[in-house]
């Protein structure tokens, strides 16, 4: 019929375009050594997903690039930035990475979730770019690719500190409520290992889907197991009702309810329910963090949680410093210098801000950039060590600060 013939012609034309183009594709030589050109930083972070947890990271990248360019940029040129929305599913993320690759990114900051980083790491590194994430903490990404770095510590270390704290408070049994996603599952595995090592018996483990209408089933199952302590491995935006139920209804207190780094955040539940709840948070000490958060709020006033904003900021800064040390914008060259500029070289002088380190590099001295968190050093498997953890606790007005 007519319709089919018309359909045949339009799609054959488009199909023909594809075949013709692939036929005349010129053989691509290795990406030419882009020495002089400006450092192109791409960022693939979630703008519309994960209940807003990624929005602070987007602002952190903006702040970092602004500071770098204000201090003279990299290798004599301003750093160019392109932010794309990864959302929370892969086909948009893959498309977003394509746009960064075609734009010619040398460094790609992201992705937010560990699962997504696993999906796009080959696409980024294949194009010769360096991938640095400020928020992937899943231990399954350790050593996945020589061009993949991360400035956030894996949860395993935090799990060990939490287990230590639980024993310090005198508990011998514990229960875990974990988010059923890449981050939550990896953290849960490390938490069980750390508890077992510390002799604490794990009496209940419950996972919840972030899209469930309510989490009462998980809370009830955990409470029924009568644990001496409970650990919440969930984002702040999903934990409000659980804390309300555990503290308000089932009588748990700040002596036996422990929070993960991502559970520390702003809540709209009754602040008195939060009083005294504790959790570890890697990253800068409070004064530095507070001042940094003010810069982020200037960018995006309705930010709710700031977890991993500091480490994402460090990811941009340390990449820029490595580009200066490598005197090139090429991904592989920059990657080679990442360990060196983060304290890998003998006799390097510590420096805190980008301007300070850039001047030292210009003067030819080796630098050890310690980032906002005051401890940043890439190990041989590109995971970060020397991470400083602070124990935070909530006051009775719903905000949290370093516990005395």
């Amino acid at each position: 019929m007519a319709a089919v013939r018309r359909g045949l012609i339009t799609t054959l034309v488009t199909g023909g375009l594809v075949v013709a183009l692939t036929a005349c594709s010129s053989s691509g030589d290795a990406p030419e050594e882009k020495t002089g050109g400006p450092l192109k930083v791409g960022a693939i972070l979630p703008h519309t997903a994960y209940a807003g947890a990624g929005e602070a990271l987007v602002s952190a990248v903006d702040v970092a690039v602004e500071e770098i360019n204000a201090a003279g940029g990299v290798n004599g040129g301003k750093v160019e930035l392109k932010q794309v929305d990864s959302t929370d599913n892969n086909d948009t993320a893959v498309q977003a990475v394509d746009s960064l690759v075609t734009w010619g990114s040398n460094v790609v900051i992201g992705a937010y979730g560990s699962g997504m980083s696993g999906a796009i790491v080959s696409k980024i590194t294949e194009s010769g770019a360096l991938q640095v994430s400020g928020s992937n903490t899943s231990s399954s990404l350790t050593g996945i690719n020589p061009l993949y770095f991360r400035t956030a510590p894996t949860d395993a270390l935090e799990a060990a500190k939490l287990a230590d704290l639980v024993v310090q408070d005198g508990h011998a049994t514990a229960a875990i409520i974990a988010q059923n996603d890449a981050w939550g599952q990896a953290f849960q595995k490390s938490m069980v290992e750390s508890f077992t090592a510390a002799g604490v018996e794990v009496v209940a483990q419950q996972q919840f889907n972030t899209t469930d209408t309510d989490y009462s089933a998980q809370v009830d199952a955990v409470v029924a197991a009568k644990p001496e302590s409970i650990v919440l491995l969930s984002y702040a935006s999903y934990s409000g009702s659980m804390i309300e139920s555990l503290v308000g209804t089932h009588g748990f207190t700040d002596k036996n309810l422990y929070l993960s780094n991502s559970t520390l955040g702003k809540y709209t539940i009754k602040p008195s329910l939060l009083k005294g709840l504790r959790g570890f948070l890697a990253g800068p000490d409070p004064a530095v963090e507070a001042e940094f958060d003010k810069k982020l709020l200037a960018k995006n006033p309705n930010l709710k949680s700031f977890a991993y904003a500091g480490s994402t900021y460090d990811a941009v800064i340390v990449s820029a410093l490595a580009a200066i040390a490598a005197k090139s914008a090429d991904g592989k060259a920059v990657a080679a210098k990442m360990a060196e500029v983060s304290g890998g070289a003998e006799g390097s002088t510590k420096c805190k801000a980008f301007k300070e380190c850039a001047d030292l590099l210009a003067a030819g001295t080796k630098v050890d950039y310690d980032g906002l968190s005051g401890g940043l050093k890439f190990a041989s498997n590109n995971d970060v060590t020397e991470t400083a953890y602070n124990l935070y606790a909530y006051d009775d007005k719903g905000s949290y600060a370093v516990a005395p």
Binding site: A3, T11, G28, Q95, G118, N180
Partner: protein
């Protein structure tokens, strides 16, 4: 304006091809037979997980893994089809969407994490056969105005080959008497019964064919990236309906054109949002990209009400908007 070229690049990316193939499968259901299958994402999920688990857990060779996956999808189609094909359209829609969600929750659950990787999904250790057989020079390959990773380009080429072959097969099927019976069933089952056509058998055959094509799309969909359970949510099926109706349901090339246009528009609006942010229209990228999805929803409504036959279809042949 490189914004135009960047958007047009979506015409040939692997994601567009995989969605086109899945939409062709859906077209056999919805377009040609009138089956309101709201669970096509379930078939795509079976394709993706079936293939990945066969290769990674059981170590099957690629052809065997593909065969096992397609048989699995056919089995799921039979399991779903036999009891439900006599139900009315909206009941069938709800059963298929519920079945697809049951699959997604099971794949996402930590209970089967040993095989499915749970919420982590499965990292890509199953597309060796593609990387191995890649004739393109390694590194970055420039195709006209666009640059592709060499593996990406090879995956896209394989995808589009499969899409065109499938479209050709469907073209022949639909023009045959078998296709004519399907169109008859789509319009009036009782008339077909009175002429001795085993209506339920034809509907079951259509469900199996569409489902198997959907599973094949699942296999191709995960080659460039990794398998993530969250990708197979209802959003995937609803996007496919938008593409199908945009391109032209009940036409052979409608799904392909629909998928191409859908992803080009999505990319174009993404680039627009970035320009919008630079131009100060939105104070941050977050606000801009949320409006994009409003656009998709409104487009679907306008299309299905004012242009149900889409671009390639013609109104007189379309059945689903019969009064």
């Amino acid at each position: 304006m490189d914004i135009i070229w960047n958007s047009l690049r979506e015409l040939i990316t692997p994601t567009t091809a995989a969605y086109a193939l899945a939409a062709i499968g859906l077209n056999v259901h919805f377009g040609f037979t009138g089956l309101l299958n709201f669970g096509q994402a379930g078939f795509v999920a079976i394709g993706a997980y079936g293939f990945a688990i066969s290769v990674m857990t059981f170590g099957f060779s690629t052809p065997l893994a593909i065969a096992v996956t397609l048989v699995l999808a056919a089995g799921y189609a039979l399991l779903l089809g036999v009891p439900t094909l006599r139900l009315r359209a909206d009941y069938l829609a709800i059963v298929t969407i519920a079945a697809a969600e049951i699959i997604r929750f099971a794949l996402n659950s930590s209970a089967f994490a040993k095989w499915t990787g749970g919420a982590n999904g499965l990292y890509n250790e199953y597309s060796g056969w593609l990387k191995g057989s890649n004739p393109y020079p390694s590194g970055v390959v420039t195709v006209g105005p666009w640059t592709f990773g060499s593996n990406d380009l090879w995956i896209a080429t394989v995808d589009w080959l499969v899409v065109l072959l499938t479209a050709g097969a469907i073209y022949l099927l639909v023009r045959s008497p078998w296709g004519r019976v399907l169109k008859g069933i789509r319009e009036d089952e009782h008339a077909m019964l009175s002429l001795g056509k085993n209506v339920n058998l034809y509907k079951l055959q259509a469900l199996v064919i569409g489902g198997v094509i959907g599973a094949a799309a699942g296999i191709l969909y995960v080659q460039p990236t990794s398998v993530q359970p969250f990708d197979f949510a209802t959003r995937m099926t609803f996007n496919m309906y938008t593409m199908l109706i945009l391109g032209g349901a009940a036409t052979v090339f409608g799904p392909i054109l629909g998928s191409m246009i859908f992803w080009v528009v999505m990319r174009f609006t993404d680039e627009l949002v970035n320009l919008g942010v630079d131009g100060g229209l939105f104070d941050n990228v977050t606000q801009g990209s949320q409006l994009r999805f409003v656009l998709v929803g409104v487009a679907l409504v306008l299309l299905v009400v004012f242009r149900p036959q889409g671009i390639l279809g013609n109104r007189t042949e379309l059945s689903f908007d019969a009064k």
